[in-house]
């Protein structure tokens, strides 16, 4: 904030000369003022609803949906799957983003200590019956852990549909495209064999339209956050996006509208003296909500991130006319983000991140990767190099979805925010 925000928040007098770190004081009383404000009003109600959905590990809303519609529900590990296809076949796609802070009793028995946390809680959810309502699980090509989880799922739940979705790493329509087309077709056949509607072009076009509408809303909210992060704080946006993993897309789209309106209408949402940062690295295992709040409380506005990435994997709209499967294939090949789980020919990842930093006028980058997350952590040195070349300050830390202790992270993020706030302003 180059001398911009003058709000009298907890951060002190709000000028660039405010004492370093004071944003972090008062930690003994975690219910801070800013949140109390956000907790009230219409936006607060939407957020509360979404939080409940996110924390309902037994997927009550999915169960209710199934009862209502009699349709199939199929889970997926949420980095990217062609949800449009499921939707067109009348199947509810359900993103499974681990178990958050749930207690793990048996899931740990399947994993050594040096493997990230999300597969443990996912197995735990499977074993404790939380995922009973799912008729199958899709495991897109994210990393070796998820890949192997697909095999484990086959062994643990022999009655269910289990598919490993090997997304192409070749982006030539005549090769990777053909392969992906085939994968999509065979997924559709598998679903149909389980009682879903056969895949038809008309229905798929409608589904593409529905998801395009959803993606557009999300892009708008992201844009709003980039401009005025105090209006859509990330700890809210995050749970609103998480709700999209379990809700039917139309409902989620409506909910996004509702949230946006309420957030914009809230007069209490005024800027604080905070540093603008882009958070990157947590695209698979999701950070605990407390971590996001901690970053915000330590003086950061998160103006861009890669949480709940499935909503944003495709950068633009999918074409709505012509061969819909081909359109999905083309969108995947040509319009996906530069992602750690994809083979990228030249170093576009760093460039894309730097571009995101510029677009969002961020002042720094926080690498926030899940512990033991190979794709994120192996990417980090390359991305750091790009960020450093661009002269952007950065820092990094690791988390796991059940981290309950944020003291160290607060200290780091606080120091980072301090050094941006104190001196960026002083120079201006």
């Amino acid at each position: 904030m180059t001398g911009g925000g003058r709000g009298h928040g907890r951060g002190g007098d709000g000028s660039c000369g405010c004492g370093p770190g004071e944003g972090g004081c008062g930690s003994a009383a975690p219910a801070a003022a800013g949140e109390a404000a956000a907790g009230a009003g219409a936006a607060g109600a939407v957020v509360a609803r979404c939080t409940a959905l996110m924390q309902d590990l037994r997927l009550g809303s999915v169960r209710a949906w199934k009862e209502r519609t009699g349709g199939l529900a199929v889970g997926y590990m949420p980095v990217y799957v062609p949800r449009e296809v499921l939707h067109a076949q009348g199947v509810l796609p359900v993103g499974i983003a681990g178990g958050g802070e749930m207690e793990i009793i048996r899931g740990d028995a399947y994993y050594q200590s040096y493997i990230c946390h999300i597969p443990r809680s996912t197995v735990e959810l499977g074993l404790d019956g939380s995922l009973d309502c799912l008729d199958g699980m899709l495991f897109p090509a994210i990393c070796d852990v998820i890949r192997n989880l697909s095999g484990m799922w086959k062994m643990l739940f022999p009655g269910k549909l289990v598919r490993y979705m090997d997304v192409p790493q070749d982006f030539d329509p005549s090769m990777g495209g053909v392969f992906w087309r085939h994968e999509i077709r065979s997924l559709a056949e598998d679903l149909a064999a389980r009682g879903a509607r056969p895949l038809e072009d008309g229905a798929l076009r409608d589904s593409i339209r529905a998801y395009n509408a959803n993606r557009r809303r999300i892009r708008d909210l992201m844009e709003l956050r980039r401009r005025e992060p105090w209006k859509v704080p990330t700890h809210e946006l995050y749970v609103v996006l998480r709700a999209g993993l379990v809700l039917p897309v139309e409902e989620h789209t409506a909910l996004l509208d509702e949230y946006r309106e309420a957030a914009l209408a809230d007069p209490d949402r005024r800027p604080l003296d905070q540093a603008r940062v882009v958070v990157t690295g947590s695209f698979c295992e999701q950070p605990p909500l407390g971590l996001i709040k901690t970053l915000e409380r330590a003086g950061c506005y998160i103006v861009d991130d890669d949480f709940v990435q499935v909503h944003r994997w495709l950068k633009g709209d999918v074409r709505e006319d012509g061969d819909p499967v081909e359109n999905l294939v083309r969108a995947f090949l040509e319009d996906s983000i530069a992602h750690p789980t994809r083979w990228i020919d030249r170093d576009r990842k760093g460039e894309e991140l730097v571009a995101r930093v510029r677009e969002s006028r961020a002042e720094g980058v926080l690498f926030c990767a899940a512990s033991f997350c190979d794709p994120a952590l192996l990417d980090q040195p390359m991305i750091v190099a790009a960020v450093e070349r661009a002269g952007i300050p950065w820092t990094g830390f690791k988390f796991s979805e059940n981290t309950g202790q944020f003291q160290v992270i607060r200290e780091q993020a606080g120091t980072f925010a301090d050094s941006i706030k104190l001196w960026t302003g002083a120079q201006a």
């Binding site: 028995a109 399947y110 994993y111 050594q112 040096y114 493997i115 597969p119 090509a141 990393c143 070796d144 852990v145 890949r147 192997n148 989880l149 697909s150 095999g151 484990m152 086959k154 062994m155 643990l156 598919r163 490993y164 090997d166 192409p168 790493q169 070749d170 030539d172 005549s174 090769m175 990777g176 053909v178 392969f179 085939h182 065979s186 750690p340 789980t341 083979w343 990228i344 020919d345 170093d347 990767a369 512990s371 033991f372 997350c373 190979d374 794709p375 952590l377 192996l378 990417d379 980090q380 040195p381 390359m382 750091v384 190099a385 690791k398």
Partner: protein, 427 residues
Amino acid sequence: MSEAQVRKDRSQERQKQMIAEHYRRLARCGETGEKNVYTYVPGNLTELMRSFHALPVLPEINALQSGMRGKSRDYIAAAERDGHSEDVCTYVKCDIGMKRSGNVGPTGERLPDPDLLLLSYTGCFTFLKWFELLREEYDCPVVMLHVPYQGDGVITDAMRKYVVDQLREKVIPALEKATGRAYDEDLLRENLARSAKAEDDLVWVLQSARNRPSPIDAYFGGVYYIGPIFSAFRGTEDAVLYYRELREEIEERLRLGKGPVTPDGDMGEERFRVVVEGPPNWTSFREFWKMFSDEGAVVVASTYTKVGGTYDLGFRHDPSRPLETLAEYCMGCYTNLNLPSRVDLLARYVEEYAADGLLVNSVKSCNSFSAGQLLMLREVEKRTGKPAGFIESDLVDPRYFSAANIKNRLESWFQMIEQKRSGGGGR
């Protein structure tokens, strides 16, 4: 191991020479103009590369050699200093560290910069990152061959076509460009025919462990036996000769009723027969091996010796279908099999090789191998009724080899097998 052996076997001498010669040629690439291609062990297209007269360089082999030569600690530290995480695969860090420390290979000679990175992306996502990182280091061309995973335990026509198309449209042109030579399918066929010959002999050797006592150790000894065929030599005449000699030597051991060679010479009484899943530890390879041989334990089958091809399942390179056979080879490598197939294979090993149990060495580096091993262990135990053991270490990071801990678990496991055998009580 070699220095400890009383009499060096001929095959071993040959392998040493092959390796030395290979690295010498690599070191002289600059002068001779020979081209080299970096690639990985699983799904390596050695016959194809050699048909372009390109020399393969295998970063994993360099990393494991660094581990064995006690250099990996420093290399890994160097990579971590440059911002690599403690959490990730140490092969990658060891390789990057080696590059940053002068790129001196296992024979003490410098390795050439790659003319091409051939990313045959088989069975492991880390490969992808690894070459992204190397691309930054060398700024050289990369060609990606996406080998689909056997998610459902089968190779479909669509998968085969996808790989063959990539080979034809991407990999071959890239090799042509990098080497300045035209694709020569006849030469490729000749190479493939030689591969198949060597593969026959290798399979015979590996299966000799069905005998009691087993004349080989299919893990600690096995990693030497697979050396030529998994790395730079498949399809060469040298490899054919090596495997013929090796087979003769093992036939001789069998005739004499001898057990396997160990770090301390011939092994004594064969007390335990075990199947091992997972790669070995390289930094304390001898110490690790001795924990087995001292107890009279011999490994009769292992999956690690299948990462560069599951020949004992019947696969042979087939000169009559050159690109298809390469595609099938890539897709059939061990880590490209799904977990149920891996369990099937292990259970089969325990039974066919009359093993006392399965031991899993879970390495921290390798999610491809390790994620899910605990379930595999349970399943194999359930199916075979034989007790399974579990230890943890790493490939080349000495910090993760805790000798006391591993020894403790191994000892307990062996004693448990024995206690079970004798029906309780003392020994």
